[in-house]
Symmetry: C2
C-alpha cells in the first residue's frame, strides 16, 4: 500500500507535537565535536528541542560534526558559567540530575523522568565538576560490570534520555502539542520560508 | 565504613563472573575510531568479552581511541567477510538481530535478549548492508520522533545492549561464571603475570 508522502508542513507539525519542552540536557564542558554532535542528535530523536551547555574557554561550538542536520532543529543554549545556566534551568521547574559517580548516586532507572527533568553530564576527561555535582538535585549512575571506569559521554547521555523516552511514551506524553505557540510559529516560518 | 580494596585477582574474578558469553556485537564496516572505541567500551561495561567485525579494506583497527583500556579486556574478532563472520556467530547458537530500518523491523524493546544474541550494526554512512540484512534473523529499530534519520551507531548499539543488560539483570543472568575455564585461566594468567 502506498501512502502519500507527508508534506513538509505535516512533518514539522508531527515533530512539534512530540516535543518535550520539560526535558533537557546540560553539558558541563563536554567538548569533543563528535560527542556534542551525538548528544544533540539523540536529543532530537527523543523530542528535545533545547539543550544547554557551558564550554571550556578554548572551545568554539559549531555542532556540524555528524549531527546529521539535527543542529537545525535543536537549539544549544550556551551559558557563561555553570551557576547561571543551572539556575535558569531550575527556574523552569526542572529537577537537575547529574550523571555522576558519587556515594549518593542512584540507579538511573529508578528515577521518575515524567517530571520536568534536566540531565547534566560531565566532560570527557574530568566528568561532572564539583560545582555541578553540588548544584544537582540527585546523582544517577548507569550500572557497569566491566573493567572500564566510565562510558562514553554521548552513550551515557543517550541511555538516560531513552529511559526518559520509555517512561514518557508509557505515560502517553508524546503526540500532544506542548511547545509554546510563539515557538511553533517561529519554527514553521523558518522551515517553510527558507 | 572502609572496605579493604579488592585485590586484582578478586576484581578479575568478579569481572569474569559477570561475563555473558552468549551476547555479542557484530560491526558491519563501522570504521570511525571513536565509534569503534565507544562500542567496545560499552560492551565491556555490560559484560561482553568478544565482539565481531568486518572492516572496509582501507581500515586498520587499532582500537586505542578512548576505549579507556577496554580493548585489553574485549577481544575484537576480525572476519574476512560478512558471510564467514555471521556463519561463525550463528554456529554458536546466537539469534542475529540487525539494527536496521526496514519494513520488517520491530521495536528493539520487544525482543527477548536473554536468548543467545548477536546485535549487528551498520556503518556510519550506508548502514547495514543488504547482505547483512538478509543474513539476520530479525531487524530491530529504536524509535525516533525528531527530524534526524538515524542515531549515531555507538549510541544505537549502546541502547540495544543496555536493554539486553536490563533483561539479563532481571533474569539473574549476572554473577555466575559462564566463561569457559580455559579462557578464565588465560585471562588470569595474562592479568596477574604481565
Ligand atoms: C567519560 S565520563 C567522565 C569520566 C571521569 N573520569 C569521571 O570519573 O567522572 C563523561 C561523563 O559521562 C557520564 N557517564 C559516563 N559513564 C557513566 C555512568 N556509568 N553512569 C553515569 N554517568 C556516566 C558522566 O556524566 C560523566 O561525567
Ligand atoms: C548512522 S546509522 C546508518 C545510517 C544510514 N544512512 C542508514 O540509512 O542505515 C549507523 C547504524 O546505526 C544503527 N542505528 C542508528 N539509528 C538506529 C535506530 N534508530 N534504530 C536501529 N538502529 C539504528 C544501525 O545499525 C545503522 O546501520
Amino acid at each position: 500500500m502506498q501512502h502519500p508522502s507527508p508534506t513538509r508542513y505535516d512533518k514539522i507539525i508531527a515533530l512539534l507535537s512530540n516535543r518535550q519542552p520539560d526535558l533537557t540536557v546540560f553539558m558541563d564542558e563536554v567538548h569533543k565535536p563528535h560527542n556534542l554532535a551525538a548528544i544533540v542528535r539523540t536529543s532530537d530523536a527523543i523530542g528535545i528541542g533545547h539543550v544547554h551547555a557551558v564550554f571550556p574557554p578554548d572551545v568554539k561550538f559549531s555542532g556540524h560534526h555528524t549531527a546529521s542536520g539535527s543542529k537545525r532543529w535543536v537549539t544549544t543554549h550556551k551559558h557563561p558559567d555553570l551557576k547561571t545556566g543551572i539556575t535558569e534551568v531550575k527556574k523552569q521547574g526542572m529537577q537537575v540530575l547529574a550523571a555522576h559517580f558519587s556515594d549518593k548516586a542512584v540507579d538511573f532507572r529508578s528515577i521518575d523522568y515524567t517530571k520536568p527533568t534536566c540531565i547534566l553530564v560531565g566532560s570527557e576527561l574530568v566528568g561532572v565538576s564539583d560545582e555541578a555535582a553540588d548544584l544537582a538535585d540527585e546523582h544517577v549512575i548507569i550500572p557497569m560490570v566491566g573493567m572500564v571506569q566510565s562510558l562514553n559521554v554521548s552513550v551515557a547521555t543517550a541511555l538516560i534520555l531513552y529511559e526518559a523516552q520509555r517512561q514518557r511514551a508509557e505515560a502517553n506524553m508524546y503526540g500532544e502539542l506542548k511547545v509554546p505557540q510563539e515557538e511553533v510559529d517561529y519554527i514553521l516560518f523558518n522551515a517553510l520560508h527558507p
